[in-house]
């Protein structure tokens, strides 16, 4: 993959060198530009707003929840307020144990987002690092990439099953499994992007002025590749949440009475015929989060990816 666009900004620096000064001049208006463009895109705006609301809901779950998410009641399977037999006390209804679905959703989103962020963070960090190193140093490149090929052959679900078998049920093995399964993808994409960056003239220039490998890697490579990598990671986020929910649906994730969206959908499965809201509501929330994450990721790519800019 070669990047021929002249829009790739020179390596930004904080030490006040010539390149740094140029980059600051160049990137400040560019940043304002992409943010404006992003907010102009209505779908992206809506997606970002939804994500923001979900994240805020998750953060402020203890304040917003109307009930204790783990506390059961005698009113089981109450439908949502707008349906017949529904009532205002549980406006999204109750589940099979008589627990308030709205409150469980807030706490559930907390756990689901946490799994998503942690796994993507883990996978993204190690994946990008390995990919960048691979591109930077040709000697270790085959070793890293063949290891990635091996990792790529483990499906996330299988890996999660194995980890749960060893570590016991919980969200930690799920995060690790999802994180590990994100590493090879991130590494490949990061390597691709980094190879393009490595062919740029400013890398040669950096070498010519006698920058050390560490300086080259840190100041020139990482800073120029990071925005494209972040786009990929943001796209990966929705997918990770979905696999995380799948694993919880299979009973591998959080332990009861903790709520997790996939687990809530799973618990409602047996009542699908009689009280569909128990499974449908968390499933719709998963759908909305994943859709928003993907739309937002797409929009970010549209405005940030230098190759897509005119």
């Amino acid at each position: 993959m070669s990047v021929t666009s002249t829009n790739v900004p020179p390596a930004p620096q904080t030490s006040g060198s010539i390149e740094g000064d140029v980059s600051q001049e160049f990137t400040a208006p560019a940043r304002a530009h992409w943010l404006r463009r992003l907010l102009k895109d209505r779908a992206a705006f809506l997606a970002l707003l939804t994500l923001a609301l979900v994240i805020l809901g998750a953060i402020f779950a203890p304040v917003l929840a109307t009930h204790d998410p783990a506390s059961n009641s005698r009113s089981v399977m109450t439908p949502p307020a707008w349906m017949a037999r529904g009532n205002a006390e549980h406006w999204l209804g109750t589940d099979g144990q008589g627990r308030d679905i709205f409150s469980r959703l807030l706490y559930g989103a907390r756990l689901t987002l946490l799994i998503g962020f942690a796994a993507v963070g883990l996978g993204g960090f190690f994946g990008s690092l390995l990919g960048l190193l691979s591109a930077f140093n040709e000697r270790i490149d085959p070793w890293i990439m063949r290891t990635m090929d091996v990792l790529l052959s483990f499906p996330a679900i299988l890996l999660a099953l194995a980890l749960v078998a060893v570590m016991g049920q919980g969200i930690v093995p799920i995060v690790i499994a999802l994180g590990i399964s994100s590493i090879p993808d991130c590494a490949r994409v990061a390597r691709g992007i980094a190879i393009g960056v490595m062919k740029q003239e400013f890398i040669e220039a950096g070498r010519a002025v006698g920058l050390s490998n560490l300086q080259l890697f840190n100041r020139y490579l990482v800073r120029n590749a990071i925005s494209s990598i972040m786009i990929f990671i943001s796209l990966r986020f929705g997918q990770t949440i979905l696999i995380g929910a799948t694993l919880s649906f299979l009973g591998l994730g959080a332990r009861p009475p903790a709520s997790e969206l996939g687990m809530m959908a799973s618990q409602g499965r047996d009542f699908l015929l009689f009280a569909p809201h128990i499974a449908v509501i968390p499933s719709v929330v998963i759908f909305i989060i994943v859709l928003s994450a993907n739309v937002a990721g797409d929009a970010l790519r549209d405005v940030l990816d230098p190759r897509l800019q005119a």
């Binding site: 059961n72 049920q169 009861p256 009689f274």
Partner: protein, 527 residues
Amino acid sequence: MTPTPIKRAGFGLAAAMALALPVAAQELTIIRAQDSNHYDPPRTTAQSGAEIIFMLSDTIVGLAEDMKTIEPLLASSWDVSDDALTYTFKIRDDVSFCDGKPMTAEDVAWSLNRWQDPETKSPVRWRMGDVKSITAPDTTTVVYELNAPHSELLYQLAQSFGSVIDKDTYEVLGKDFGVTGFNGTGPFCWESWTPRDKVVMTRHDGYNWGPANYENRGPAQVEKVTWQIVPEAATRTVALLTGQGDISPYIPFIGYSTLRAAPNINVIKSESAFWTNYMGFKITKDLVGDVKVRQAINLAVNQEAMAEDLFFGEVEPAYSYVSSGALDYDTTLDETLLKYDPEKAAALLDEAGWVLNSDGKREKDGKVMEPLAISFTGEWQQTSEAVQADLLKVGIELQIEPMDSTVYWGKSATDEFEMYVMGYPYISAGDALNLYFRSANIPTPNRMNWNDPETDELLVAGSQATNEADRAAAYAKVLHKVHDNAVWLPIYHRPMQIGYSTKLAPFEAHNIYGAGLYKGLQLTFIE
């Protein structure tokens, strides 16, 4: 490997029936939840195994729907010696296997001997008692000799494990017996098995030796039975409602009210099902080692609310470990049972030194009361979560680790938990107690680690009693003992409920080992 003789017999039967019966094919589809690992009588303890084996083969004696009356089956009569050590069975001479071969006392003795043979590795070998020998002195006599009396012997011989199978077919099929083929004397004959999908069986035309509790003693009134597996509970309900299946004993509790309201479905219920769901305590673990803690947990859980809300009033809340209708249940136990009383539970915990800390959790010597319960997923997980919510109200933070049944069985044989979940079928109090409370049965099924020499002695005394009063007295003592020690948290007694199409004539549900249709002789379509 293909069981050619059986298949040929099957095809022959089908051809014969096609000629004999001009009316529409009497094909029945039974919907169930899960498969068995195989269908070899002495080696499978699965309820889903027993369901099939009862229809494909016969036992030496049968059991009536009341779960108390022993009926003649392959044996037309029997004598028990005064010392209760020798049972002499008179075997019918008009019985034949599905492949047409006549069945003799030799086959009965061989099948029973195979059950007790250590090489068979039957997990339920103990049900046979302390066997001295099982012999067939002539073609119509089987002599079953014991080293010590075994008061429940006839009940145990009515279970599917002692089903009589054909030795020749077994020798041909070996380990594949009950996998690729089967040859028994039951009302139906093996046609095919597709694991995790279905078992298909066809009518045994010559069958006329059914147990006397059936009006129709044979042959079966339906030509072909397909046991179809539908793993999803809601889908089973829909399949029955839409006529994709004719009968299902595996309807989720939530579905029964819908089925009762449906014009095309009938539901039968039998209370004497003798199936109890409970959570057991690993009493050798610190957290639940104190009897007061176990009693408190019993008092803190509201079984009645669970029965109503979680199981839609379809089950009977349980406070005793065996159903009060079971043989040898002691009614004096009723006054001592621990019923819902959260205040008393809290007081008991205080008394035991487990006091509420600032977080509202019970704590003692810096240790928080958070016992770990392992659980199956699905319905059991719901049950555990309801228990968890009830216990939280008295400051006990139950940890639940739900797992798939394939993992659960192995895990439940370890020491890595404080509580576990289990549901089990039994035919009498003695059956239940001998299964769970013998010290020899540690680690499974005695997962509680209940190790009490007096219990062992009493169980032996009950098992070896030669009269009913002695037997009942011995078992009553054990019942009191284990209930006083609160080694279990009983949850509910599960009735046998079967939903069936109104196209079928009404019938009575059976309860043996959870096999609600038993021999299937009663099943018939209304003309």
